[in-house]
Assembly symmetry: C2
Amino acid sequence: MSAGSRVHPVAEHQDTVRALLADSLQQRVRQRSLVEAAGRILAGDVTAPRSLPPFANSQMDGYAVRSAELAGPDGSTVELQAAAPIPAGAAAPALRPGTAAPIMTGAMLPAGADAVVPIERAQPDSFFDPADLAGARVLLPRGVPAGQFVRTAGSDIPSGTRALAGGTLLGPAQLGLLAALGIAAVPVLAPVRVMLLSTGDEVVEPGQDLAPGQIHDANTTLLAASLRDAGAEVVRSRILADSPADFRSALRDELSSGRADLVVTTGGISKGAYEVVRLALEAEGVEFFSVAMQPGGPQGAGRVDGVPFLAFPGNPVSALVSFEVFLRPALTALTGLPRPRPALSAVLDETADSPEGKLQVRRGLFRNGRVGMVGGPGSHLVHALAESNALVLVPEGTGRVEAGSEVTVWLLE
Amino acid sequence: MSAGSRVHPVAEHQDTVRALLADSLQQRVRQRSLVEAAGRILAGDVTAPRSLPPFANSQMDGYAVRSAELAGPDGSTVELQAAAPIPAGAAAPALRPGTAAPIMTGAMLPAGADAVVPIERAQPDSFFDPADLAGARVLLPRGVPAGQFVRTAGSDIPSGTRALAGGTLLGPAQLGLLAALGIAAVPVLAPVRVMLLSTGDEVVEPGQDLAPGQIHDANTTLLAASLRDAGAEVVRSRILADSPADFRSALRDELSSGRADLVVTTGGISKGAYEVVRLALEAEGVEFFSVAMQPGGPQGAGRVDGVPFLAFPGNPVSALVSFEVFLRPALTALTGLPRPRPALSAVLDETADSPEGKLQVRRGLFRNGRVGMVGGPGSHLVHALAESNALVLVPEGTGRVEAGSEVTVWLLE
């Protein structure tokens, strides 16, 4: 191996991946309806086109009043004529002096009114039949401050101010705000389109029969689900044949469609004699090397026809760890998606050895501040991976972690 | 109000909602491909149809050997004839005595071989050209234990044992395991289908113009996004007119299609004079009452034509809090989706008053173990909601929480 003799520190390769994507990733902006915008990143600031609330309205079911007419000592009452109720969804007629208008929560405060008396404090304490208001009079308590139980226009957000900042992740609350503002569509960052290629003559699609020596492809499923969880779009997940020339030409064909922002391969990059990805792309300027990490040591990074290219090793656990340690944080940093993994400190249940010169990433089960290892360090242990809910990080420079010591875990769920 | 005079404790209404769904929710099982099964709950145990690994294979690039031929003192070597390399994805021919077969990571161990010597420990320490093996000999170290660098068949999971338990949430790792086992489709719980109905004459769809007194509907967007995040399917989100008879007949029409497992309405259930949901359904056996919670006090629950029915209040924050406190935990308990909200203890930044007889749910910004309130307690403050990342819970019986005291927060992100 040429460029492969130096072992790259984990942090260096993290920087490499991030810089590669920062230089080459095309961030596309698309106008999307609120339903389609869910879970995506807002591509620019949104200014409130109107105030919220759009008009002064009642916070309670009760009577809209002129507070000046209810001035006077607490404990005494004033009798007012009951006006027609204010219907929801309509402009309220102005409140005539000497009257109190039945008003429901959220209904527009009539001109002239500046306070609301809750129905519970009125006598009678239930509303009159709207069909029979002739001569209806209501007793209301004096001493009502102006503004009582009134939601003033713009008290949540005034028109013309920034409602949401560009870069905001659009969850239910943010989408609800946009809807309340009357906005039906917003510009969002389009998903990063990842071309996912699984290599290896021994690899067969799930659902197909196995010949001796063959295995089912777990990487495509595992990484495609991880990428989709991370907000990316998986545009292709073909299994390519184990010939460098075939691989190169198939990859070029795929890239010519312009549908991929990033290519990720699994397998074919270690020191073996038949490493198709390395053999196909080493001469094209993609670099292949070892990173001080276990599993996931063999890595490749570069560009193919200008498109960022990452090569992960072929064992499922190695592929997942590569994604979690290198690609996922770079996507978060550059696109705002996905959210960073919660990194927690946990007390280790059992003593574990680790290769001192490498970051070791084990699978663990985290519960109530403690973590136990699930399965051994082997990168083929996909059942153990499926039984775990965390990655356990044993840093470079540590040859052994004792039971009861603190380790960092990344929660996978 | 008839049944509405008693204030229901929060825990009682949580139990009511859970029991209502437990009695009436139809859990449907569907066979789904691995892509479609992502994020869903496995409907039954999955037994491994084969072992993983399916055959003994090499953990390293190196030479497959008979360890007995390499017995002897450490430090000395033995010379063996280099056999033809073992291709990946094929049945390996048996290893002839006196030979060592080049083998790549993951390739099948040949019959007769029981250990692997890494290429780095061989002389020469790179593989021969496969086209030029005549007379090729390799020096290998003695003292190789049987089983060295061999992944035995079934060491991750043996055929016939349980691979995944029913009720498991299918994330990337679990889907990867299923793929590795060759399983292309699995039975999963279908999403709960929720019919979402927003009421109110004052309510207008986002994107449409507002007449005076009208507001844009935020609830449908807010709750639909929340429900989808929680793994549910939103089958309908119509805004119905403010007439009890129209509401009742429209609801019956919708329910007759059989497409809803649950109906959720917003608005129309408080003490006002024109409360369409209450007026339409009180006589049908749906109960309406107050819960000791702010916001979200008015609630309704029951069945309409046998379908579970929940009525939430109409302000956006009240609707969201109702979902988070009552419906979301019930869905988690009964269907396994969504994951429970992380409940954390946080130090409160500022002193806050709370109605002593109620659970108060405020919006907050949680950072590094501290939480500050965002906006006031008003249930219309949807901009404040969009700026928050947590709900802050001030329990019943607490009239004031002091700055610096510990409160419980539910992380919304």
